[in-house]
Symmetry: C2
Subunit: 259 residues, 2 copies
């Protein structure tokens, strides 16, 4: 973290994790506390402790680019701006939008001191709650086709199935977008065993956290909503039964061998 | 986090991130502080503040299963054990080894209260330092063939290249293992543009942090060692030049369109 010079402002893109306060890193807390302006989706800003004199600029969940431009404008005026992002800003969150806005924006924006502060992403929180489903090679795919063709999503799902990656599926659905997760499951059912473990992890770390463990054969894709992260296992992903409590789900580091 | 009953011990697998203290979550710090026994690779334990009366069980970097079994034995004796892992224990770290040890171990071990606490993984730290190279669909692949056939690594690299994922390559090399990263680059050079951005991120968050940005065409795979995380871009990964400082590297959220 380099401090902004008085003449030029600074912009930090800060990840506050999935919602559990004990997953917010000290770096993220420090950057948010030190900011003159907080920019972000309202529910994320609501999770930040108010600092006297700090300006808050809450926005809707979409319009990432507008939000990024507003933050850059403030930093360009010499403000110390923190763009507050859920999860890890570098994983299907605000960081990419900020760099897109810089590249397409005013030349002066390239001189702003921009830093990214990583956070716990939804797939990590979900994995930790279940055991270690991401314990070996995996991929992370956004099912949103707002910014990419659905054919590319299908190509990546098929490649991930063929190469037997564990899959973390982000943005599986929204109020208006239901077809993508249904289409993804229809495709994966053609390519993977019906016994493949599937996890619907909703609002992990929040009061309304809900985890559903099922298998690909009978998984109901409509369990996924905007707040859900879906994990689809590889052929190696296993359930570890326990006498008390739900089974652990984990993916061994290699081919299983009695050891 | 459920507290262990006095009769049965507990085991938490705790991620302390890549090495920067400000990336250790409050949950991880709390679990380490509350543990009666810390088990882990010596350099990770050295990063934990000593608590009077706390027992430390340092081990070598390999032998993950032995370390997991030792931790489970202690928990089985009623101890409150924290297995200290670098990065995120669920991503190419200790969590999977612990569940493998439980599955193959004493039946009583399945009754131990086991929790996993996520952490910042090396790919997230590296991405944050550079900009947002993981800003869209990506995969994480371990190049170690200690526990899986090299042919499977090559299949996954080829699938990731064909479907145009950004790639985070873990365990690229060790003192004794140099061929994997060379083989991986030889394969990727056949499948991807020589202009593809490549990042060698070594010891991120530590005093000897070193980041090398190059392109696939002239990247020297021997820059990678045990402490290096390698990121290979997708066709969309871009360099954002700055008048001052190194370029940012980021992967847009979708096809680039002037906005």
């Amino acid at each position: 973290m380099t401090a902004a010079s008085p003449s030029s402002g600074s912009l930090s893109v800060v990840g506050i994790g999935p919602g559990f306060a004990d997953w917010v890193t000290p770096e993220a807390a420090r950057l948010i506390h030190a900011a003159s302006d907080l920019v972000g989706y309202a529910p994320y800003l609501d999770r930040c402790e108010l600092v006297p004199g700090q300006a808050r600029h809450a926005s809707d969940n979409r319009v990432e680019l507008d939000r990024a431009r507003a933050a850059l404008r403030l930093a360009g005026e010499g403000r110390r701006v923190a763009v507050v992002s859920g999860g890890d800003p570098g994983i299907f969150a605000m960081a990419a939008a900020v760099f897109e806005a810089i590249e397409d924006g005013e030349p002066g924006w390239r001189e702003i001191d921009v830093t990214v502060s990583p956070g716990i992403s939804a797939m990590q929180a979900a994995a930790a709650r279940l055991g270690a489903p991401l314990g070996h090679d995996f991929c992370a795919i956004s099912l949103s086709d707002n910014l990419k063709p659905w054919a590319l999503v299908e190509k990546r799902l098929a490649a991930a199935a063929d190469a037997d990656f564990v899959m973390a599926l982000y943005n599986p659905a929204s109020h208006t977008r239901r077809e993508q997760i249904r289409g993804a499951f229809a495709l994966l059912r053609k390519l993977k065993s019906p016994a493949t473990p599937v996890i619907f992890a909703r609002a992990i770390g929040r009061a309304d956290e809900r985890i559903t463990l099922c298998d690909l054969g009978d998984a109901d894709p409509d369990l996924a909503d905007m707040a859900t992260l879906v994990i689809v296992g590889s052929s190696g992903t296993r359930l570890l039964r326990r006498p008390n409590g739900a089974p652990f789900v984990y993916t061994p580091r290699g081919a299983r061998a009695a050891s």
